[in-house]
């Protein structure tokens, strides 16, 4: 039975966002947003503070609109599970510039560390594989993070990686909660005007 892992989530996320270049980032509700914020706020981060289960789909729409850019969705196991069907939808579209990284601690960390489905036997990377994701990884060692980072930037194939992180809550680093502001600064950074 899988139940998260041992990796430090902040170190994993900082490693993935190093030398981010033209990377576009979408973060799922909860700790994944704090991890990305802790690595440094950026105009090309879109933090979701709600709409649980939508992070992967926001990433799909963004990847379809901007095929010239690598798009990274960083989310947790609980957030992804709430929109599990999205894996089927995304597998059919197969955008080469989209990578989904699931920070899997096997628990709902935000609500008091109740065990999630992944902590009780559901392995998200196997589901992605069954859906036909061309690139699937299960990462339990820190050394694999740099390889994953390079692959995200390569834009060669739709990818999902489950990263087994420790079930612990580092101090919260809160991203801005004004969703309109975050939207408009993201679009502005891409050269798009607000309405």
């Amino acid at each position: 039975m899988s139940s998260g892992g041992a990796l430090d989530r902040r170190a994993v996320v900082a490693g993935l966002l190093r030398d981010r270049g033209d990377l576009l980032v979408v973060t799922g509700l909860g700790s994944a947003s704090y991890d990305v914020m802790a690595a440094g706020d950026h105009d090309l981060n879109y933090y979701l503070w709600g709409a649980m289960g939508s992070a992967a789909m926001v990433g799909l729409g963004l990847a379809a609109a901007r095929p010239d850019r690598p798009v990274l969705v960083l989310t947790g196991d609980g957030e992804l599970l709430m929109g599990f069907g999205a894996l089927a939808t995304i597998a059919l579209r197969r955008p080469r510039n989209l990578s989904i990284v699931v920070l899997d601690n096997g628990h709902y960390g935000e609500t008091g560390m109740q065990p999630s489905h992944t902590g009780q036997g559901i392995e998200i990377s196997r589901v992605a594989e069954a859906c036909g994701f061309p690139r699937v990884d299960l990462i339990a060692r820190m050394e694999a993070i740099e390889t994953l980072r390079r692959r995200i930037h390569a834009r060669e194939a739709l990818a999902l990686a489950t990263v087994k992180i420790a079930a612990e809550n580092p101090p919260r680093v809160l991203p801005p909660r004004d969703a309109i502001h975050v939207k408009n600064r993201f679009r502005l950074a891409l050269g798009l005007a607000p309405a």
């Binding site: 576009l24 709600g50 926001v58 799909l60 729409g61 379809a64 969703a179 891409l190 309405a195």
Partner: protein
Amino acid sequence: MASADAAEAPSWRDEVYDVLKQAGVKHVVYVPDAGHATAIERANADAGMHSVVLTTEEEGIGYLAGAWLGGDRGALLMQSSGVGNCINMLALPASARFPLLMVVTMRGDWAEFNQWQNPMGQAAEAALRLMGVLTWRTDDPKDVGPLLRGAATMAFSGDCACAVLLGQRLIGEKEWVK
């Protein structure tokens, strides 16, 4: 399926797609419904359109938010029963003022054979409004183009969430026994 307006050109079914194209829509995301068959077929055949089939309607709200972040316009096509699946996800356009254009084909509002469709069909428009979505509803083929055009303007030029509801009298009675 009734198609009394089939001889007119363009029919409201084609007009839905024509208006979306004229509004600059590049993504049609949908859960299939017979009432949307023409738009879905045309989207699938259009090399300039991302045509995306969803497993559930709420996926479309996230998708279209992402497309807008990247500079693109899109529309979500669904049946009235799908409105219920979207409720919590409608916090996304409400909080971030993402444009959202929905076209909803009604069930459970006229000559409905399957009473299981009635609860969500009857609640669909009120549920959308509860979540801050502007709505327009019609049973008249002449209204479809103008209402959708107006909704697209208010969505893409005013950052509003907008839904056009196409009534069951417009779509026609479903034939249950052929």
